[in-house]
Structure formats: C-alpha cells, structure tokens
C-alpha cells in the first residue's frame, strides 16, 4: 500500500513545468485578481472589536487576577514596591542581590554539585558586574509568574486530551499544531487588543505561547505509560483521581519534567519577544538597542539573556534528571535551606540600612559597551569589502534568483504543483490541505508576502542543509568534534530567537541577507541534531556488513548510512523549515517584506484583523510544509524486512 511511487515523481516534473507555462498564458492565472479577494482581515477586526467591547469586564477580571501575583513577584525580585491588598498597603523591599545570588548558587550546589554551582556563580557575576541584574530579575519575574499558569493549563489540557482521545484527535491536536506553528509574534496582536499595552498582556501572550508543549508532553507521557502502570492503578482499586495523582502522573514525571524545562525555556523566549507589547526587562533593553543601533548595549543585554537562559536550562535539567533518580526525596537539605532563607531575609533587611547590600554598587560595575562599539566600527572599516562581497554574492547568486522565480510564478501554476505534490506524497487529503492553505493566502491578498516568506525560508533551509548535514556527518565521524558540536547546538538552542539578530545587524546592517543569516543561525541546529542522531541510529550490523563487503568510507556513506538515515534527516529538514518560519517573523525587525512584516505592522497599529490573518497564513504554511515532509519521510522510510506478518 504505502510503496514509494517513483514514477509519479518523474511525471510530476514535466507536469509542474506544464502547469507553470499554461498558467503564464492567462493574466488572471498569473496574478490573483484583486476582485476575488475577500475582506477577511476587516471582518476579523470588526468581530474582534465587538468581542472586546462586550468582554471588557472579563478581560479586566483576568488582568486583575494576574496583576496581583505579578506585582508581588516583580516587587520581590526586582523593583520593590507597595502592594495594596484590600486597602492595606504593604511596602516591600526587593530581595537583596547578595541573598538571591547565594540562593541560586546554593541550589546549584545541592542539586548539581560544584560544576553547576560554579556555572551559576559565573552567571550571577556576569549579570551583576555588567549591570544587568535588575533587568534580568524583571525578566525572571515574568518567567516565574508565567510558568505556573502555562504549566497548570498545559497539564490540565493534556489530561483532558488524554482522557478523551476523540476530542484530542479532532480538536486539541489540530489547535495545538496551529498554535505551535503560528509564530510567537502573532499572539501579541490579539492580546494587545484585548488587554492593552503593558506587562499583563505580555504575560498572557507568554502563557498562551508556552502552553502547547506542556499539553503535548502531558498527553504523550500519559499515553506512553507502560500498560502495567495503568493496570496497576485499576487493580489497586484507585478512584479516577487517585489513579491520576498517585500513580499515573508520578510515573510520568520524568517526561513531564522535560516538558517543564521546555516550558521554562519557551517562556523565557516569549518574555523577550513580548517586550514589544510592554514586558520590561532584558528583552526591552535589546529591543531598544536594536532600534537605536546601540550595538554595545544590545550585545551586553543579549548576552545577559543567553546567560539567564543557560542558568535556567542547566538548573532545570539537573532537577529533572535528579527526580527520575529519586533524589527529590533527600531530606538532608533542611538545615541548608533554613540558612539560605535566613541569609536572604537578613541581607534584605540589612540592605534597608546598608545600601550596597540592596543594590549592587555602581562603582563595581563595568561595561564593555564603548569597546564593543569601537570593535564593531573597526570590523566595519577593515572588513567592509569582504563582508560586502559576501553579502552581494549571496544576494546575487542565491537569494535574488529564488526570490524572482517565486515572485513571478503564476499562482495557478504554484497551486497546481502544491496539489500534485500533496497527492503524490500523501493522497487526496494532503492535496486538499495544500489547496486550502494556498487558497487562504490568495483570498486574503497575502500571496506576495507568503511567497517572500517562502523565499526567505527556502534559501535559509538550503543554506542550513548544506551547512548542517555535512557538519552532522562530521560530528558523527569524529566523536570529539561531535561533542563540541552538540555543546554548541545546545547553546544555540537555549538562546531566545531575538538574540540572533544582534550580531548580524551589527555586521551586515538591515536587509534580507541579515535576516537570512539570522534565520540560518537559528534553523541550522535541528539539521545538525537530526543528522547526528540519524547516523547514530544506523544499526551497527549494517555498517559491519558494509565493512565486510569492503566498502570505502565514501561507499559506506552513499550506499549504507545515507539511505538508512535519510528519513530522519528529512524530519530534521522539516524542523529546520519550521524554525525558519518562526524566525522569519522576528527578522521583520530588520526590515524584510514578508508575512512577518505584516504581523509587525499590525502590531504597531494594533490591527487585530491583519495581524491574525497574516499569523494564520504563516501557521498554515507551516502545517502544510510539516505534513508534506512527514509524508515524504514516511514514504522513503525503509520497510522492516520482517514486518510482513
């Protein structure tokens, strides 16, 4: 049934050419007639306005519910401030930097040993000495507030989806799919309209953005539990609640904790992005620096984000793996905990009298801002020609041809090709999905922007693959290099997408090339990761068989390893494309003309309709690409030789 149909592929090529050529002959088939477009964005805006008008009480309720814990945490971690509760004002000092840093390092020590403690100490030192502490704490406060909400909602949604597989299949999974492919930016527009500019709406956008992975992980973790565990719950006579809370969730905990870590990282990423609608902190500093082209400051704040991300990530991982090894139950930490809390309180109170304990003394701080600026200036003066040559080369030889080809392709031809591809790879359902997505982009009048987006993603994907696959192969062949590579990839992956823009803009200024390089830097990681994993997963028996046959290493690669690894690599390329789509939106900040720019403009104008529609376009394209790649990977996956039962 699921045999590969190579002949259909070869038929596809001439058919595609023919479709393009025929469509070219009719002007209506080349450019989509304006008269056929539908006012989708306007309708959405209008209905959103109605909703906003009628639901303002609800949004206000929501906002208040979030605002109270938010002010509390922000006050404690960063600014201090008055907390009013029922006419009772409480003046809270911020927790002292010394106490907080001590607590962080101590936690690292107890859970991960001296290595982690050292890492946390270095991280704290960076944040303190470079004057990023209070901004970082503000960012951390948003994360601390958002994570429990995202976690709670995600787990509940995941449990519901697990309990009701039908609902999951027809509603939850598709919605989560869409939520994960619709770029982070697009969440900002409706929250902005509903909740206004400010930290609360940034927080809500963050929670919504960070929720899907947790829901996914929960459903997956519960359904992957060994049958014995669910049977055990039934045979012990558990009620539903007991089964869930005492048996199933604890048994699923290792995987849930991985999800927790992921949620924290996504929250951080989104908190940074949400600085556009009023979340303060490090993201805001970067944004400001980017707007003012203040490279030094931007780099320092960007590095602070990376430092914070690494600190959170490492701590999270250690906690997650500690739980599954049962360390969560160690009772020896009582005394240490009391001491550290005491120190935290003590330094905070002392800080009221002795200022240096409260705020890190300015005179101790350093900045490399001016050095950075001059370094960049120096680079630009001395390497301008080289950089410019690279830029022009990329533009002329790779980007422009693809851009022009895509921009001038007649829509009817493109639609035909997408439908044929869908049909060949995944049958009529995929063909219909392709037509639906294309149709949506057409009638909303976003065809050109969609094509620009695809052009950016396509070039980025081509570069990422031609960079990432060889790197991955090399990493597999030379394990030492592979270790380094894995480390680099992990580092790159903890960095919030925003940060990628800073060095690129610094050297290449704004424009498509900058955007594309930032995208590649962001999207190359899954290619490397998947390639390495794919090669690692080639059964040793196969390579041994190759060796016995006398393969050279080149032959081994071509005839044994690549064919077996290909489906997994393809999934990596799929991820790469999805990463690119997510990043494209952010590169709107450096002046691309794609769907991301549409969203960005909608954001600045608080135009829900165009923002949502453009975001949806991106999401739908993402889903289509994802399904196409998956279908292709499933087709070329080698059939197990002994599965003809």
């Amino acid at each position: 049934m699921t045999r590969f149909r190579p002949r259909a592929i070869w038929l596809l090529l001439p058919a595609a050419v023919a479709a393009l050529w025929i469509a070219q002959q009719f002007s209506w088939a080349t450019r989509f007639p304006k008269a056929w477009e539908l006012p989708v964005a306007k309708t959405v805006s209008k209905s959103a306005a109605v909703v906003t008008d009628n639901l303002s009480w609800l949004t206000r309720l929501f906002a208040t519910a979030i605002e109270v814990p938010m002010t509390l945490v922000v006050a404690l971690l960063s600014e201090g401030g008055a907390l009013t509760l029922g006419g009772f004002a409480l003046d809270l000092p911020p927790l002292s930097w010394s106490g907080l840093a001590l607590a962080v390092v101590w936690t690292g020590w107890r859970t991960g040993g001296p290595g982690l403690a050292l890492l946390q100490a270095l991280g704290c030192a960076y944040l303190l000495f470079f004057g990023q502490w209070s901004a970082a704490m503000l960012t951390l406060a948003s994360v601390v507030i958002a994570v429990p909400f995202a976690l709670g909602a995600g787990v509940v949604l995941g449990i519901v989806a697990w309990r009701m597989p039908r609902l999951d299949r027809w509603l939850v999974t598709p919605v989560l799919d869409l939520m994960q492919t619709v770029p982070a930016f697009a969440y900002l527009v409706p929250t902005l309209v509903l909740f206004g500019f400010g930290p609360v709406s940034a927080l809500i956008a963050t929670v919504i953005f960070a929720l899907p992975p947790m829901a996914r992980v929960t459903t997956l973790a519960l359904s992957r539990l060994p049958g014995a565990i669910t049977d055990l719950a039934a045979m012990m006579g558990c009620t539903r609640g007991q089964a869930l809370w005492r048996v199933l969730l604890p048994a699923a905990m290792p995987m849930l904790l991985v999800g927790l870590n992921q949620t924290v990282m996504m929250t951080l990423n989104m908190v940074i992005i949400a600085s556009m609608i009023g979340a303060g902190g490090l993201g805001f500093d970067v944004l400001l620096a980017l707007r003012q082209l203040d490279i030094g400051r931007g780099l320092e704040a960007g590095a602070a984000i990376v430092v914070l991300a690494i600190m959170l990530d490492r701590q999270g991982r250690v906690l997650a793996s500690g739980w599954s090894r049962g360390q969560a139950m160690s009772r020896r930490r009582g005394l240490g905990l009391v001491l550290v809390l005491g120190a935290l309180l003590g330094t905070t109170l002392l800080g009221q009298i002795h200022a240096p304990l409260r705020a890190f003394p300015e005179s101790w701080q350093v900045t490399t801002g001016s050095t950075m600026d001059s370094l960049v200036a120096w680079l630009n003066v001395n390497f301008f020609d080289t950089i410019e040559a690279v830029r022009v080369f990329l533009l002329m030889n790779l980007m422009n041809p693809i851009r022009i080809a895509l921009a001038s392709a007649p829509w009817l031809g493109v639609m035909t090709i997408v439908a044929m591809l869908g049909w060949v790879l995944g049958g009529w359902r995929l063909a219909v999905l392709g037509l639906g997505v294309g149709g949506f982009c057409l009638v909303t009048g976003l065809w050109d922007e969609t094509m620009t987006t695809i052009y950016l993603c396509l070039t980025a994907a081509i570069l990422s693959v031609s960079l990432g696959v060889p790197l991955g192969i090399a990493g597999h062949r030379w394990p030492r290099f592979g270790k380094l590579l894995t480390l680099a990839v992990e580092l790159l992956q903890t960095m919030p997408s925003f940060v990628y823009l800073i060095p690129v803009v610094m050297l290449l200024r704004v424009g498509d090339v900058s955007a594309m390089i930032a995208i590649v830097a962001f999207a190359v990681t899954p290619v490397i990761r998947y390639t390495m994993a794919a090669f690692e997963a080639v059964p040793p028996a196969l390579t041994e068989a190759g060796t016995v046959m006398g393969c050279t290493s080149g032959q081994m690669l071509r005839h044994v390893q690549l064919p077996v690894a290909l489906p997994t690599i393809l999934l990596g390329i799929n991820q790469c494309f999805l990463f690119s789509l997510a990043m494209v939106v952010i590169t709107a900040l450096v002046g691309t003309r794609d769907l991301g720019q549409k969203v960005y403009i909608a954001l600045t104008k608080a135009d829900v309709g165009s923002g949502l529609v453009a975001g949806l376009c991106l999401g739908l394209v993402g889903i289509l690409v994802d399904r196409l790649f998956r279908a292709a990977a499933a087709r070329i996956a080698p059939q197990e030789p002994n599965s003809h039962a």
Binding site: A228, L232, M235, Q242, P250, A251, M329
Partner: protein
C-alpha cells in the same frame, strides 16, 4: 483402567461461564445473547481473542494458563480481573458476579481481595521499595500503623526487609519482581493474578522465584491465576493447568493428566519436551504393595525425580509409597518408574 489424579476437592473461588472477548470494529459493545456474540465472531470483521471459555478455579489453588503467544492467555486473565470487559459471559468471585458489579463495588473488591503481578514489574520509579508496597494500602485509606505493619510483613515474607529504602532502579530484576509480589500480597488478597511474572528474568532467577512462590503458597494458600508460556514452569508451580489455543481452552487438568493423556496433537507438542519424572507423582506410578514392610519409603505426593535417590539406595528394588498420613499406598521399583515415564504401563497392571 486408568486412574486419573483427582484434584483435591476445593470450594470454587473464581469461576467464569462462557466468556467471549471480541476485538475489532464495534467490539466494545457487549453482546446481549450467546447467539449474537457467535454470529458477530463468525462474520469475519471481529476477531475473537477468547471464545466460550468456562472455568472453575478452586480456593487455594494455583491455576496456570498456558499457550503460545497470541493464544489469549493475557486476555483471559484480564477478563477475569475485569481489566477488560468480556463481550459476553459472566465472571464470579466467591459467588458474586464481577461482570455485573458497579464500579464502586468492584473497586472495593479490588482493594481488599485482589492482587496482581506484572511481567515487567510495574513498579513506580519514584517510590522506594517500601513506598511501592505501601501504595495499595494508602490507596484504600489504611491507617499508618497497620499499614507499616502490613508492609513490614510483606517485605519479610519476600525477603526484602533489608532493601526497604532502596529505589527500584537500584534492584536487580529478580528483586524487583519480589517487590511486585510483596506489593500484591500487602493488601492480604485472597486472589492473585500473575501475568508471566517470571518471563522477564533469566533462568536461574526464574527457578529461584518459582521455588519462592511455591514456598509462599505453602503458608498462604492464596488462589492464583498464573499465566505462562513455559510448560515446565506450568507443571512446577501449577495445581491445575489450562492449555489454550486461538482463544479456546484445549485441555484443563492436573499436570499429570496433561502429560499422560494429552487431549490432542497441539497439547502433545507442548508435552513433548517435558521431563516426565518431574511431573508424575510416585502415587501415580505405584503398583499395589507386594509385601507389608519395606526398608525404604517415599511420599506419594513426591515426584518420581524426588524418589530417585531412595530408589538407588534400595538398589532399584521396590520401595514403599506412602500417603500423607504414612499409610501404605503401594510400591515402586525401577521398572514401574520406566513404565510410567514411557507411558506404556500404568499403575494397577500386574508386574
């Protein structure tokens, strides 16, 4: 005339009547009548994992279910335990129908009268050994003191007392399955379900745990439904054995019945490789006594292999076979053993 080895008469603990389990489209819907389930099984769209299985399992008996992979052993066990609802048929525990019982009532029965041991142990990784064993007691809301006592007893019984504070990951497979056994015993159930409990262990440990189970059973007298695909395990631990094929029972009987009178070729195939001296009891092989006192004696309940040493000591000559009360049942000699093992001659024929 052949003497079948009648099992000890026991009160029926668990019984099932005409159970069917269908898998496939619409298979979740219970059938109203026997005709309906038969026609649904016959129409080809559904797959019958169990067809018309009826059994009576006696109190204090280890009842073994045997069969090749896919023959429906686990399905039978899960139907008996109500982990899956049979499409048709009735399961009764102590005369109460489990199939017609409400959820709450079933839960109470499980909390007090059932335990289960799993092939891959099913231990919760975040709980210590003691925590795992205590869990079913906590679930049923047992007070701390009586709980601790029950846990300690269960750990003692299974020889785990020294490992109470370890985590499952720090135990070997055999030790983990002991924890599984301790957990199942902790609530003091009358009925235990064991689905291939020792299949994931290597042969030596498997033997050790089989012996352990036999030893425990000698003191506890639980009713057990024990699934295995290993015939030698079945005859070692089982009081009675049921052999399944394609969802049907092929033969039910004591191990001796089955090895000596296999019902069909399928069963005969299972029996083929078995060491008969470890299955046939001395009482079965015995002939009428030819004198009134013997220099050596063996127990009639013992297997022929157990008598080997005594036989050697007696120079192969006839030795006495005694009943449990020490009465004389008959005698065996080398010839009788060979005859029993070769299946030619049976007790009662003249020497």
């Amino acid at each position: 005339m052949s003497k079948t080895t009648a099992p000890v008469q026991r009160r029926t603990k668990l019984s099932c009547r005409e159970i069917w389990k269908l898998y496939g489209p619409n298979a979740d819907r219970p059938a109203a009548s026997r005709d309906e389930v038969e026609s649904r099984a016959a129409n080809g769209r559904c797959f019958a994992a169990l067809s018309d299985v009826s059994l009576d399992i006696g109190e204090g008996e280890i009842f073994v279910v045997m069969g090749l992979s896919g023959s429906g052993k686990s399905t039978l066990l899960r139907c008996l335990a109500q982990l899956v609802e049979p499409t048709f048929g009735n399961v009764e525990l102590d005369g109460r129908s489990l199939t017609r019982m409400g959820q709450a009532e079933l839960r109470e029965v499980r909390r007090h009268d059932m335990g289960m041991v799993f092939q891959h142990f099913g231990l919760l990784p975040h709980l210590t050994v003691a925590g795992n064993v205590a869990l079913p007691l906590k679930i049923r809301g047992e007070k701390a003191e009586s709980r601790d006592h029950a846990v300690a007893t269960a750990l003692e019984l299974t020889g785990l007392a020294a490992m109470a504070d370890r985590l499952p990951a720090q135990l070997s497979g055999g030790q983990q399955q002991r924890v599984g056994l301790a957990r199942a015993l902790a609530v003091g159930p009358g009925l235990l379900f064991l689905d291939e409990p020792f299949s994931a262990l290597d042969p030596l440990i498997r033997r050790e745990l089989q012996d352990e189970l036999i030893r425990l059973q000698a003191g506890l007298h639980k009713t057990m439904v024990f699934v295995t695909h290993d015939f030698s395990e079945a005859v070692r631990v089982g009081d009675r054995v049921a052999i399944m094929k394609d969802g049907r029972l092929r033969q039910v009987g004591t191990p001796e019945d089955i090895v000596r009178q296999p019902a069909d070729d399928y069963v005969r195939n299972f029996v083929a490789g078995v060491d008969l001296t470890r299955v046939i009891r001395c009482a079965t092989a015995a002939r009428p006594a030819s004198r009134s006192d013997y220099a050596h004696a063996v127990s009639g309940q013992g297997r022929l292999s157990d008598a080997a040493e005594t036989l050697m000591a007696a120079g192969g000559g006839p030795i006495a076979v005694q009943g449990e009360d020490g009465s004389l049942i008959g005698e065996i000699d080398l010839h009788a053993v060979l005859a029993a093992v070769s299946g030619k001659s049976l007790a009662g024929e003249p020497a």
